[in-house]
Every structure is written in C-alpha cells, then in structure tokens.
C-alpha cells in the first residue's frame, strides 16, 4: 500500500510541476496594493534541464524573499512579484518563441533567463526588436553588448584571465607549457583564443589544443596528444561541457595525468554542483575560477547557502551561476524602485550604477550592462568544495575582450548615446 501511495504522490507532484510551468505561482501572502508578473525562462526539459532548473529554484527563492520583505515599492504602492515560468526545452528556437509569448501575451516587464550562449543568441533579436529586457546570469565568452540584455555572469577578464595568470605565475606548475581542451562550440573556442593571446603576452607557450564534439566521450586521442605535448607535466586549461568532464577526468587519472605527476587542470565550467557529479576523488588538487564559491566565509555567503538549503533541501548546493541569478533579481528590484516605474527605459537608466551586497561581495552594474565582480581561484578539495587560494579586488567587466584580436581597443557604453554598443577607446 505504501508503494502505491508513493507512486500516487509522485504522479501528483509531477502533474503539479506541469501546471507550475504553464501558470504562475507566488510567494508568501501579505498585504500588497498590486501585483507585478515577471518572466522566468530556462530549460526544464532536455539536456540542459539539470543545470538550468537550479537557476529557476534560485530565482523563485529570491522572489519569495523580496515578497516576504514587503515586495517592490513603486510610487508609494507595494507590489507583490508573481512569476510565469516557461520551459525553453534545451532548444534554442523555443527560447525565442517563449520570449515572444512572455513579452507580447503576458506583458512581463522583465525576463530572467537563458544558460547557453546559443539560447542567448537566439533570444537577442527578439528583445532588441521589441525593446524588451532579458537578464542573463551565466559566465560567458563576452564579445557582445546589447542594450536590451543585462549580463550578470563573468566576462573572460573576470574569470579566465586571472586564472591563466595564476596558473602561469603562482601555481605549482608555474612557468610550464599550456594545453587547451574544450567542447566544440563557441564558448571554449572564444575563451581559448583569448587564453592563447594572454599566454603569449606572459611569455609562455601553448603546445596543443583540442576540441571534443558535443556528446562525444572518446578522449583517448586527446590523452595521447597531452602526453606527447606535455611529457613532463604542465598546465591544462579545461572548458569541456557537462558530462564530457566525467569521461575526461576518469580517463586522465587512469592514464596517469594527475597533480602528483605534475599535471594541473584549471577548469572554467566545474562548480560545486559538477564536482559532486564527477566525484571529488577525480578532481582533488585541480583548480577552478569563479566569482562565487560556496566556501566563501562571509555572513552574506553563508546566509545565501543556508536559505537555499532551507528552501530546497539540505543536500542541495549553491554555485556561481545560481549566485548570479540571485543577484539579478535583486538588482532589478532596486532599479525599479529607484526608477519609480516598471517602464523599460527608465529602469534601464536606473539600473546602471546599482550596487548590491551580493553573496560574493559588492557588485555594481557598469555602463556596459555587465557587473563588476570579485574573482576567486580555488583548489578542489576532497570534500567536494573549493579551498580558496586567491581573491582579486573588484574587477571591471570587459564586454569586448582586450586580448582577443578582433575586439582589442573597443568598449561598450550605453549611458552615452555617442558611444553605444562598440566604440574605439
């Protein structure tokens, strides 16, 4: 009997989840003068669902926190935030289609959404043509600066550049040669172009580079190349995606490419969530670079991790993408209150210069619609977290990378009409 009840309960939750994706939900009740509905657009099905659903959870939590604290106050009236969750289904055209639906049909003033660069590139023309707003929370390859998107994740100079610098100057493999490994799509390729330019500037040498097609887990040829190019150990920069990391780390360990034999891997896509999937025993001693790490020992960081565990379960972890998603909801709320309206253009103007005391430390929205953030380098430990080794001061974002040959000398500034998307410094 216990079983059938469980199955029934499972079915009930499943059908609830289905309804939740199609219609709205709210936070706690209280006395509000009015409501405002925002859009949340991430993949809840398909390959990206595992990662993106954590963002939905975080955004819901941020909205509930704001509602519990009295909602958004605009023009003396208090508004309760409600949300519509749409499923992008890991399919990029669906992201564009659902964006249109949220903007035209539901009339939401803002959409929080996206993960992959491909989904963002698909949505961008929709938001630009309708002059609507997208808040995008993932660290990405930059080389883009839209007037209609706010990017709260790191740009390469806020993640990969300090990380490369650390590896070449201060890691145990300092001064060694570099080998670059990545999945075959836009982020790893752009990121590695920047890394190659940087390594050259530093006086180092990139001795090899290889990309694994998405979905392919046969890494044997890459391993033999690494062994040939770095026979005595060296620095490996890894931008592989998702479960390809599992295959990579399992097999390099078997092939003897480990920290104890002088090989150190710096990772740009492995956060706490991924460490627990891959297994800390394969990753211990390698490195990661992020703006937020769960092990940051400040009250704001602890509070963020604690409330997330309280809301979604004690075994859950928080990681950098979730922190970005959390920040963007609060930044939007502050900008709306400062603008005194939900109107697009006024909020856009009010948003630049907004400061927020985020779990990672203070962040500020810059004129190029990206955030100034702190960068941290961590060593992966046996407990599945990062031991933070280095922390930079606040790093300003570069929408146009200064090391990439195609964007060197350019910047973006939306507060000055004569400058705009891409101007020469």
């Amino acid at each position: 009997m216990r079983i059938s009840r469980r199955i029934l309960a499972g079915l009930a939750t499943a059908s609830l989840a289905v309804t939740a994706t199609s219609c709205g939900g709210g936070g706690t009740s209280g006395s509000f003068d009015d409501t405002v509905t925002v859009g949340i657009l991430h993949s809840l099905s398909g390959t990206m669902a595992i990662s993106e659903s954590t963002l939905v959870d975080t955004e819901k939590m941020a909205i509930e926190e704001i509602n519990a604290a009295g909602g958004v106050t605009v023009g003396g009236k208090s508004y309760k935030i409600e949300y519509i969750v749409e499923d992008g289904a890991s399919d990029w055209p669906t992201f564009a289609e659902k964006s249109k639906k949220l903007i035209d049909q539901d009339g939401v003033p803002v959409v929080f959404g996206g993960w992959t660069s491909a989904s963002r590139k698909a949505m961008l023309p929709v938001y630009e043509s309708k002059d609507a707003f997208l808040y995008y929370p993932i660290q990405y390859e930059a080389q883009e600066c839209s007037n209609n998107i706010f990017y709260t994740g790191a740009t390469p100079n806020q993640q990969s550049e300090p990380a490369t610098d650390f590896m070449y100057k201060r890691s145990p493999a300092a001064g060694g040669d570099f080998f670059l490994v990545g999945s075959d799509y836009v982020f790893p390729r752009t990121s590695n172009t920047i890394t190659k330019a940087q390594v050259k500037q530093l006086g180092g040498k990139v001795v090899g580079e290889d990309y694994l097609p998405l979905g392919n887990t046969e890494v044997a040829p890459i391993i033999s190349k690494i062994k040939k190019a770095l026979p005595e150990g060296g620095i490996i920069i890894n931008t592989l995606n998702g479960d390809q990391n599992v295959a990579f780390f399992k097999q390099i360990q078997d092939a003897g490419i480990t920290p104890s034999s002088g090989y150190y891997v710096m990772n740009y896509s492995i956060a706490e969530e991924e460490i627990s999937t891959i297994g800390p025993e394969f990753l211990e001693g390698h490195y990661g670079a992020w703006n937020y790490m769960m092990s940051i020992d400040t009250p704001a960081s602890k509070k963020f991790a604690k409330s997330f565990k309280k809301r979604w379960g004690a075994d859950r972890v928080v990681a950098d993408p979730q922190e970005s998603a959390y920040n963007m909801v609060y930044l939007w709320k502050q900008a709306v209150e400062d603008a005194g309206t939900f109107d697009d253009n006024a909020v856009r103007e009010a948003l630049v210069g907004q400061k927020f005391d985020a779990p990672q430390g203070p962040v500020e929205v810059m004129p190029n619609h990206h955030l100034s953030q702190t960068v941290r380098i961590g060593e992966i430990n046996a407990e599945g977290g990062f031991t933070i080794l280095e922390e930079t001061g606040v790093v300003l974002p570069q929408a146009w990378n200064q090391k990439h040959p195609s964007s060197k000398g350019f910047a973006c500034d939306w507060t000055d009409p004569s400058k705009g998307e891409k101007y020469k410094l």
Binding site: I50, S224, D243, Q253, T277
Partner: protein
Amino acid sequence: MELLLDSLFNGVAIGSVLLVAALGLAIVFGLMGVINLAHGELMMLGAYTTYVTQLIFKLPILKPFYNSYIIVSIFLAFIVSGVVGILLEKTIIRKLYGSPLETLLATWGVSLILQQFVRSVPLAYGTGLVISLIIGLFLPTTFPPKIKESINFKYFKFSSWILAALSGVLTGSVISSTVSKLSRASARNVDVTAPSWMRGQVEILGTAFPKTRLMIIVITLISVIAITLFLNQSAWGMRIRAVTQNRQMSDCLGISTEKVDIITFGIGSGLAGVAGVAVSLLGSVGPNVGGNYIVGCFMVVVLGGVGNLLGTVLASFGIGIMTDLIGAGRLLSIWPDMPLPLSNTINFFATTSMARVMIFALIVIFLQFKPTGLFPQKGRMVEN
C-alpha cells in the same frame, strides 16, 4: 616501437568500445534485419544496472565482495537488457517484421520512453519492475510439460505474473528503503567508480596502459568469442543461422522461428547491456548515454557488411585505429620531415572533431565503391 605499440593499443582501445557497442546490433540488425534505434537505450540500461549493482554492493552484507561487483554487473546487465529486449520483441517488434520504416519509428519511440523512464522513475522501483519482468516472463517456462499442456495453463501464467508483480514491489521497496540514493527519481547523470584493482595503469613492454581500457578490451574479446562459439557450435546458433538464411524453409523443417526470433533479439539486447557496463567505466551514466553511441554502432555494422560478425570486428578496429592515427596526428611523428603542404593538411585534421569528419568522409567514399560493406553476405537472403 613504443610509439607503434602505443598507437596500436589506442586504436584497439577505441575500436573495442565501438565493437562491444555494435556487437549486439550486428546480431539484431545484421542477422535479423531489425533497425533497432532503441539499441543505445538498452546499453543505457546496462550502464544503470552497473550503477545499481555498485550501490547494492556497498551495503554492509555485500561490502566484502565489493571489488567483484563489476564482474557480477556484467552478467546482471546482460540479463536486464536481454529481458527488456525480449519484452520489446514480444510486444512491438514481432508485429512489425518486414516493415523497416515502421520498426524504425516504433523503436525510436521506445528509446524516448526508456530515456524518460530512467529520468522520472526512482531506480529502486525500476529495479523492482525489471525483477517482476524476469519472473513473469521466465517462471511459466519452468513449469513441467504436464501443466504447460493443460487447458488451465493461462491461469498458471496469470498467477505467476501476480507473483512477479508482488516480488517486484517488494524488491523495489526494500531497495528504496536501504539505498537512499536509489529512492528518488533524478535526471542527473550518475557515476560508476571502478573498484580499486581496476584503476591506474599497468606496464607492458615498457609502455603504461590504463587498466580500465584493458578491461574493456577483455570484455569485448570474451563477448566476441562467446557469441561466435554460440552461433557456430550450438544447436540454437545453427537454428538462428538457418532462419537468417531462409525463414520459410526453416519453418517448414520444424524450427520454431518465433522462438529463434526471441532468442536472437534477447541475445543482441543482452550484449547491448554488456556494452553498457563497458561504457560506464569510461564516462558518466545518464539518460542520453546511449544516444552518443548509436550512430557509431550503425556505422560499424554497415561498414563491416550487414550479417557478418567478422566484418563488424574488422570495421570497428579499423575505425578505432584510423581515429587515433588521424585525431592524434600520429603520421607526423612517424614521418617527421614530410613536405609542408602535407603536414599542414594532417595538422588540420589532427583534432577530434576534424578526425570524425575525415572518417565519415572516408566511409562515405568507401561505401560508394562497396555499398554492401567489407564482407557482403553471399547467397540467398531472406528478402529475396
């Protein structure tokens, strides 16, 4: 010498993953002519079986035997995928023999169902379901002939299904209450960790080889030898070959083609399960793991020549060695001072993505000249 050995080993290692994955398909598609797009998902079930076995062997009672769980899971994976394959044959594929397009669509549907199944059903209950399938399908066949021939046999069959359902529910709840990791549904990829004796490297002739790769080569070799012996030496193997060559005539001569179909499909599916164990040692286990291999499997079978095991073996090792030769740019180290344009071309293709493009291109060209593959089947086939 060391270079050659290393290169050969890598090629064989890549090839044996392809081979073990394609072996089941070589039987199902090669011998029976069934285009089974759910083959990858049968592999996935084998991989999940390894994961479940691993967790069960972590329980206090079985802990002392933990190091041997991988051997046990090879047999279990064969049974699990085989049983699911038999069910698939009995319910869907049997009705679609001779209509390849419908089979293709139906099995693709099945592959989606199986993927969603492991995403949204807790693995403990999935295990329970498989156990009830095993009991329900096999218990009636063990009854003495007297019962089998009686008119009340359907009641016996019915009651054995009830027994099967009960034991399934029981195992499901026992596992879910003892192994907490299996009690909740999760779409997240899970991880199989090889026991300590299988990790690290072993040195042969001065070159270090990863042990998991050697293990996969061993699994592949044993599977190939076992299946060749079965097909060529056993009575059922002979019946399978007979049905493959001429179904009507075999039927006339008293071979139960229905039984032959079930056994062939079951073995093919079971081999997919074994392949699942092998790939779980290389990467992570997730609902999409089978999809990564299915194209490669068909490629190997077609290239080798449909209906020929030797062709499949040679094709997979051929592709493996080519992948390593092109992808790791080995020609350059064998012949370091080749003319510049040639070495530039080789460097251009010396990445994993480009090597794949190159290999597919070579296969397409090859099939232009030999459309039936390396070893075409000679003589009259079923469809003629």
